[in-house]
Each structure stands twice: as structure tokens, then as C-alpha cells.
Symmetry: C2
Subunit: 297 residues, 2 copies
């Protein structure tokens, strides 16, 4: 993609410089992928913090200024903010500019962003499947993406060259690229990510509603399983609100299956059906082994 040390992009704008945005900024800097790297973030003081961290060349609270003359714009804001951002920046994007994102849902993001992009601007939506429960520009690190999957979901007829350049950026950040239909992505992620988060939020919420003394003991003895759920349920509230609101159908569908299975398990416990329990627990252990074998553990 590059030759003679020319960076992959002349000017890259990252809009939203939180955990993912700032991790991408660090990876771009590390590998010299941008001539100039700009952060745009409307959060009070966030752009200034990113600049102070030395992870971008420029930073501004003015998103329109950030994207002016950019060859690549990566939306790293919560999914719910993408439409209003696209509407604001659309008119100033230069011809040939690539717009990408890092959202955990894809179909709705495309529906929200695409209509606001002028002809000649290429939309290549992406989802780097990586993260931690932390937020903010200080929490990012370049190695976050190493060895993880990046799912790209180009709309029909997307520009092949633009797709290749976005793929190359994530590859250099350490990711393995997978190309998928947007709707299929949303269904897979509803199972692997959105339902687990929903469940974790619920169980931690249930525990936090307990009587005070019991609540304190739950924290104290959380190492016995609960703490793994608190880590997931410590994820960014706005980001996750937006995911559930925008992937409603796929989430409710898998949730329905989960609830049926949970009811069956509840019944087996109430009736003391040890064989049913053992059979399920043996099956799930095999799934764990498959995850380990796939080097995703």
C-alpha cells in the first residue's frame, strides 16, 4: 500500500478519542500510517487531553475542522452519535475521502451515516472486535488490537480500493480481517457480545438491589464468578445503551432463546434432574474447549 516510506494516508481524523479511538491513534502513530493525525472530540477537555498525551498531532472540539482535508475519517463515537456527526461533517468531506467507523453494530450505522455522505466519499464500516471495560483517551493502548478480529462490512458496491486501504490500516494495527454482510455481523455479535453484556448488566443490577449487608458480602466474595460479570457490566453505559437501542431485533431474538433455555434449566433444578444438568454442563465444557482451540481464550 505504501512505497518509499509514504504513509498510508496523508491526513486521518479520528472522531471520538476514547478507548478505541485513542488506541487506534496510538497504533497509527506507532506504524507511521498517517502524515497528520487529528483527533476531534466534543467532550469537555477530551481533545486537549489527547493532545497532551502526545497520541495525535492536532486535536479540536470542532469536528468539521477536524475532518477538513482528511483522507480518512474514523468515527469512534458511540453509535447513537454517528448520525448527527455524519450530518455535520458530510458537506465538508473532500472527494475520495474514506469514512469508516468502529461501532459494534453495522446495519443501523450504515443507515444513519450513508445518506449524509456526498458522492465520491467512500463508506467502509468496520468493527475491531477488541476492547476493555475502561473509557477515555488515557485508557487506550496500541496493542489492544493485536491478534484480534476486525470485521469490515462494506455496503454493496463499495469501492474496492477504499476497502483495501481500511483493511491495511487494521492489519498494521495487528488485526485479522474478516469481511461480512452488515446484517449478519449484527446477528453474530448479538450472540457473542450483546447478549453477554445484557446478561452481565442484569445480574450485576440484581445483586446491587440486594439488602445492604448482602450487597457488601457479594462484593467481598465476588471472586467466585460474579467479578467476571462486573468486569463486563463495567463497560461504557452510553456506548451500550446505543448498541441495544440499535440492534434491538437481533438482541431480542437471541434473548428469547436464552430465556427459554434458562427456564428449562430452572425446571431441571426444581425437579432435581441431575442428568439434565450434567448433560448440559458437559456440552458447554466442549464449547470452552473449542474457544481454547480457536486461540480466543
Amino acid at each position: 500500500m505504501t512505497s518509499g516510506g509514504k504513509p498510508l494516508f496523508d491526513r486521518v481524523a479520528i472522531l471520538g478519542i476514547g478507548l478505541i479511538g485513542s488506541s487506534l491513534a496510538r497504533a497509527i502513530k506507532r506504524d507511521g500510517m498517517a502524515g497528520t493525525l487529528v483527533a476531534g472530540d466534543i467532550g469537555p477537555g477530551v481533545a486537549a487531553r489527547a493532545l497532551a498525551l502526545g497520541i495525535v498531532d492536532e486535536a479540536t472540539e470542532d469536528l468539521v475542522a477536524a475532518v477538513t482535508d482528511a483522507d480518512l475519517v474514523v468515527l469512534c463515537a458511540p453509535v447513537g452519535a454517528c448520525e448527527v456527526i455524519a450530518e455535520a461533517i458530510g458537506p465538508v468531506l473532500k472527494p475520495g475521502c474514506i469514512v469508516s467507523d468502529v461501532g459494534s453494530i453495522k446495519e443501523r450505522v450504515i443507515a444513519m451515516v450513508a445518506p449524509h455522505l456526498p458522492d465520491g466519499v467512500h463508506l467502509i464500516p468496520g468493527h475491531p472486535v477488541a476492547g476493555t471495560e475502561k473509557s477515555g483517551p488515557e485508557s487506550g493502548f496500541a496493542e489492544l488490537f493485536q491478534g484480534r478480529w476486525c470485521i469490515l462490512t462494506p455496503p454493496k458496491g463499495a469501492d474496492e480500493g477504499a476497502l483495501a486501504r481500511v483493511a491495511e490500516m487494521w492489519r498494521r494495527a495487528g488485526m485479522i480481517i474478516e469481511v461480512m454482510e452488515p446484517a449478519h455481523h449484527d446477528r453474530v455479535l448479538a450472540i457473542t457480545s450483546h447478549l453477554p453484556h445484557l446478561i452481565a448488566y442484569t445480574i450485576v443490577g440484581t445483586a446491587s438491589d440486594l439488602e445492604d449487608h448482602l450487597h457488601r458480602e457479594v462484593i467481598k466474595f465476588s471472586a467466585s464468578g460474579f467479578r467476571d460479570f462486573t468486569r463486563i457490566a463495567g463497560s461504557d453505559p452510553i456506548m451500550w445503551r446505543d448498541i441495544f437501542l440499535n440492534n434491538q431485533e437481533a438482541v431480542l431474538d437471541i434473548l428469547q432463546r436464552f430465556t427459554e433455555d434458562l427456564t428449562a434449566l430452572q425446571r431441571a433444578i426444581r425437579r432435581g434432574e441431575g442428568e439434565t444438568l450434567e448433560a448440559l454442563f458437559t456440552k458447554t465444557r466442549a464449547v470452552r474447549q473449542a474457544v481454547v482451540d480457536a486461540k480466543q481464550a
Copy 2:
């Protein structure tokens, strides 16, 4: 507890030399807590494997032989096996012998074991709150207990000296001791451990019932949340079957609360109630912080 290098116990028998039993054996060896350390395990070849690992002085498939002349017997078998073991070994236990266990439930274990112990034998049930999803004598390690809680649940009128010696053993293994009523232990653990495992088993089961191609993709992209559940759902099937069968009431009670909360959340997603979601997710984030502050993260 010791003086002049005398070990804490002359002869210790660990019955069931899996993850917890073999980790305890390693800790006892490391700190010289036993004059002689014996493993008893009826699993085919397990006793021999423990002996070959060098983590015990003697090993046998004959549990009665293992406990003969022991000052301390620690039941490390699945909870469901404790009654039949207690019945078998009760008659040969010497006066003053302490019987303890490591089970994740306490009220039922006491009910199963106590009636089979002769007068003059002290029952001090315990629960080292530590573990991994692995099984077998090879998977244990002495550091498993370091900095974790050990909950002791002595029945009313239990011998204070016996309690102190069991506490001392776990303290030397690195644990922090908490004494609790058996029924209260079972309620707290139903929330912190049994419900999380039940949920994890369910969600992994739901995913494994999906169509083949989707199932493969769920494994592939499991890093986005699902894999944390597979780790929990990879835990020992027999052990967990027994826990659910023997802590039925407390588990079904907290499961009922969980289901109500999940239904409320499902409704909020269906109706697009962003504020409800955000409020819950903000609350659960605070619980995560409490877990981190309690150094249990």
C-alpha cells in the same frame, strides 16, 4: 500452632485429589503442615497420578485406608459424594480427628456428613473461595489460594481448637478467614457464584444449539464477551450438578429475582427506553468500581 518445627498435623488425608485437593496438597507440602500427607481418590488411576506428581507422601484408592490414623481429613470430592464417603470412613476415624471439606455449599454438606461422624470427631466445614475451570491433580497449584477468602462454617457448638487449627491451615495456604453461618454462606454464594455459573452454562448452551455455521462464528468472535462465559461454563460438570441440586432453594430464589430484572430490561429494549438502560448501566459500573476497590478484580 506449631513449636520447634512440629507440623500442624501429624497425618492429613485429602479425599479427592482434583484441582482443589491437589492445590491444598501442594500448599501443605510447601509449608510443611503435615507429618504425613495422604491422598485418597477412587477415580481410576488418579491416586497414582497424584503420587507420581510428588505432591503427597502416600496415595490410595481405598478411602478407609487413607483416613486411618489421620488427624485431619479434608473432603475435596464433589458435594454429592460427601455423604457416601462420610458413611464409609466414619467408623474408622480416630477420636479427636478433624473432618473438614471444601464444598461450595455448606448446609447440605453438614446434613450429609455430620450424622456419620462418631462422637469425639470434629466437623469444621470450609469453603476456600478459589478455583479455575480446570480439573484433575495436574491442574492444581499451591498459589491458587493466595489472597483469597476461606469461609469456615462451624456448626453450633463446634470445637474451638479444631476450628483454630483448620483456620491456621488455610491461613498458611495464603487465605483470609471468614466465619459464617452455613445457611448464610449458601445464600451469599448462590448470588456470587451459583447464579453466575447457571447463567454462563445457559448462554453457552444457547449458543451451542445454534445452526452450525453460526456456531462456528460464535467461537471465532468469542473475544467480544462470550469467551468469559465459556470459561465459567467450562467448570467441572459433576461438581456443578451437585451444587445446583444441593442449594436448590437459594439458587431458585436469586434466579427468580434475576429473571424479573431481565424481563424489565427486555421490555426497555423493546420500547427503546434509552434512559432506563443508561441508568442501569451506570449503576452496574459503580458495582464494578466497588469490586476493584475491594481488591477482588
